[in-house]
């Protein structure tokens, strides 16, 4: 029981820190996550009362009624107490009713369907082992790993999977929803009123790289979002070196797309150099700003990824699908790192 004090201190400490703004459910950046945190707070409050009462009675009982040396007395054998038993049946019921009311309210409010709402931005999220595809059906845009959204609209998500179960989770903006196969689509919505980059995670075991299946949500000002749309639909130049262009077409564009070229079975690469990350997990930073193992320049990240994808994401489907010399890898990484979008 003595450990209660430091635990409570730790609790206060951690709750006050609340974690990263872009990642923590305790540090919500949008109304949906805000509402969820509100429910958490109510439940934590009610449950803290329960914990405190139980701990207090425990400590009191254990000290007061401990057996002293040589104490052979037989305590009174009490069968029970109707009054007490009614109390500790009724009080919990009352507490649960207090908790149940906002729960039910929020269950229904969060299930609101924005799929027909003309003001909402429709996004179809398709999960793959181990990457995320984002399609904007109204805009005719498909992209991957990074969901770019405007700050002024409700984002209406239709989530599904192309293979195994995954779960689409943006802790600081909204909760999560599983992605099911075969037409069993799930919907959720959220808003991100503050511009910024938020981290997204896969929250359902989907294979060896489950823990590495991150994505980003990038909320931008409405005007930037408009520019992003235009830039995404702009034409893209293939590599200027014809030999490299040929390699790129035969080895990469069979699965990937840039602009109007290529196939669509694997992540669309249009504007890849403007994304926050390569493969969702290698974070792009400016030269010299590398702080952690998973951070590097766009070029280095691209090189590392194309050179040996399985070292970055074990079990991914890109491994062994192509043969490239080191120069070709460098060339393609170089080319891809020029694919930027000017919209911010």
């Amino acid at each position: 029981m003595k450990r209660l004090a430091p635990l409570m201190a730790l609790l206060v400490l951690v709750l006050s820190a609340c974690g990263r703004e872009d990642l923590s459910a305790l540090n919500p950046q949008g109304p949906v996550a805000q509402e969820q945190l509100g429910l958490m707070k109510i439940s934590i409050l009610i449950m803290s009362i329960v914990v405190v009462v139980v701990f207090a009675i425990s400590i009191y009982v254990l000290i007061k009624f401990r057996r002293r040396k040589g104490d052979e007395k037989i305590p009174k054998q009490v069968e029970g107490s109707h009054k007490l038993e009614v109390i500790w049946t009724v009080i919990p019921i009352i507490l649960l009713v207090i908790l149940a009311i906002p729960t039910l309210k929020t269950v229904f409010s969060l299930s609101k369907d924005y799929s027909e709402d003309p003001n909402a931005l429709q996004v179809i999220v398709t999960a793959h082992q181990y990457w995320w595809e984002f399609e904007y059906p109204e805009l005719g845009i498909k992209t991957a790993q990074e969901l770019v959204i405007p700050t002024d609209r409700v984002i209406s998500i239709e989530a599904k999977t192309a293979d195994v179960l995954h779960s689409f989770w943006i802790p600081s903006l909204a909760g999560k929803i599983d992605t099911n196969p075969d037409g069993n689509v799930n919907r959720m919505y959220f808003e991100a009123p503050k511009a910024g980059v938020y981290q997204g995670k896969c929250a359902e075991l989907c294979g060896p790289s489950h823990g590495l299946m991150d994505f980003k949500v990038k909320a931008v000002e409405p005007s930037s979002f408009d520019r992003w749309q235009v830039a995404m639909l702009d034409t893209v130049e293939l590599p200027s070196d014809p030999e490299l262009a040929q390699v790129f077409e035969s080895q990469c564009l069979t699965c990937h797309a840039v602009g109007e070229y290529g196939g669509s079975t694997f992540p669309n690469l249009t504007g890849i150099a403007s994304r926050e990350s390569v493969a969702g997990i290698l974070i792009n930073v400016e030269e010299g700003e590398k702080e952690y193992k998973h951070e590097d320049t766009v070029y280095n990240n691209l090189y590392k990824w194309i050179k040996d994808p399985k070292a970055v994401k074990p079990g991914n489907h890109m491994t062994d699908q192509y043969t490239l010399t080191d120069e070709e890898v460098a060339g393609i990484a170089e080319y891809l790192s020029t694919l930027t979008l000017d919209y911010e």
Binding site: V78, L96, D182, H210
Partner: protein, 624 residues
Amino acid sequence: MAHAHAHAVKRRTGIMDWLTTVDHKKIGIMYLLAGGFFFLIGGLEAILIRLQLMFPQSEVVSAQFYNELITMHGTTMIFLAAMPILFGFMNAIIPLQIGARDVAYPFVNALGFWTFFFGGVLLNISFIAGSVPDAGWTMYAPLSGTTYTEHFGTDYYVIGLQISGIGTLIGGINFLVTIINMRAPGMTFMRMPMFTWATFITSALILFAFPALTVGLAALMFDRLFSGNFFDPSAGGNVVLWEHIFWIFGHPEVYILILPAFGIISEVVSTFSRKRLFGYSSMVFATILIGFLGFMVWAHHMFTTGLGPIANALFSVATMLIAVPTGIKIFNWLFTMWGGSIKFTVANLFAVGFIPTFVMGGVTGVMLSVAPADYQYHDTYFVVAHFHYVIVGGLVLGIFAGLHYWWPKMFGRVLSEKLGYWTFWTFYIGFHLTFFVQHFLGLLGMPRRIWQYLDGMGFNTLNFISTIGALLMGVGTILFIINILITMRKPKTAENDPWKDGRTLEWTISSPAPEYNFAQTPLVRGYDAWWLEKMEGNSKMTPVEPIGPIHMPSPSILPFFMGLGLFIAGFGFMYAREFGVVSLVIGIAGLVITFGCMGLRSWIDDHGFHIEEEEILKDQGVKA
């Protein structure tokens, strides 16, 4: 007739004694040993998981091996460690608590043990065979199907659990019938000790929950072995169906685990407070209610599956309701101690430590029942923290309490209290260090079942603390093993009632109990039958019969072979995908062994044997 056929005393020695025994006390010990062995394997897996997560982006184990570790850790701990250890207690204690000479089906009891054991061995052979289950203990399709798991991992899981599940199911039926039909005169239902009640309800849950698992596993097996389409979306299968079937079984399963722990805690707290269990009838009622509600709440594991707001709302409220009977239990324990004379034996330390710990696991359970908040908690370390608080902080502490409490009754020796204190403190502190911080990891955005987390996310310190805690729990477990080794070298000197404060019938007979348990069946005159007699100044129970020959069931090797047959059949069918007909033939041969032994069992008219009066009197003289 039957008596005329009965043979003279048939006893085997050495290893054959253990392979053929149908004595519930020996089977209890075997469950404990086998369960303990699997507990160590599962613990080792846990330590490896924690070492991998000690630092960000570390590569102590590979991503594939990590998924194998988490899958096998969960599966092993639940099916092969926790449940068998509980079955160990049930076997060792239930007949003694209700004043019975045996369980209802001694042969089936042995069969239950051997099928569990062979199922568990089969599952763990996957490590040697090199294809280990890796889709999580929940085995969600389609990841677990042949399309995404080509190796035999899922097959080991499906077949291993199917075989050990048979053992669990027949074990559950055995205890139900034992408790319904074999209670001593005067032992009415409302005089049964709490552990017996918990076992009764748990067995009922097993009976109604395990067949769902059987079907789920069979369906997944058909999908994998015979190209079935239950969970294959490309042929019209439905993966959410697997989730439903799994959790319709899976949620009662967690009550199957925790109710016996509740029973143990009730016994230990009451004994060492020298006080009658407070609110016995409401405790019984609460246990029944928890068991009943346990079947109504499975979809709270599926709030993010997309069942729709109505289902989520209903299952939220139903789940919250479970807090009420659980709360009743907590307060009844506290008020059992209130006004009592609490002695802090190691067993009681574990029990007393259990109460606040379990409350912490319980309140996070209520938090998780809030569906919209669960959209954030689900599949994060918050959930990991929650269920380890109830399973380790609840069940495992309960098991440790039970081990220290009943060890003398099972082995005739009292465990060292001094070492026990060390076990308790290292394990208890280690436990809270490991899992308390995990609540925050989850809330801060760390999903569960991840192989690596990135540096700079604010997860480093908490993960490091968690790993240190896990190592400390490992130390506690090692200390406990040392305690066992030291204790078992000492002579069997434990008295009938080594705690002096025993209240129930198991403390009226010698430690360990004789083969026939009760030389004379006792008359039960009330709840806490033994305490009642002690308070009236009696030194023994009133017998309901004179001393006479006692009928015993014969030992048999058939249960062992029936388990072995299933084990062989499992391998045969599993590898039919690779080796074709030969493998199928082996599989069928295994089934022939099992069903052949079953027929043999029916055919051989074995009426058991009698232990004669002289032998019983001799035992009495020695122990008196």
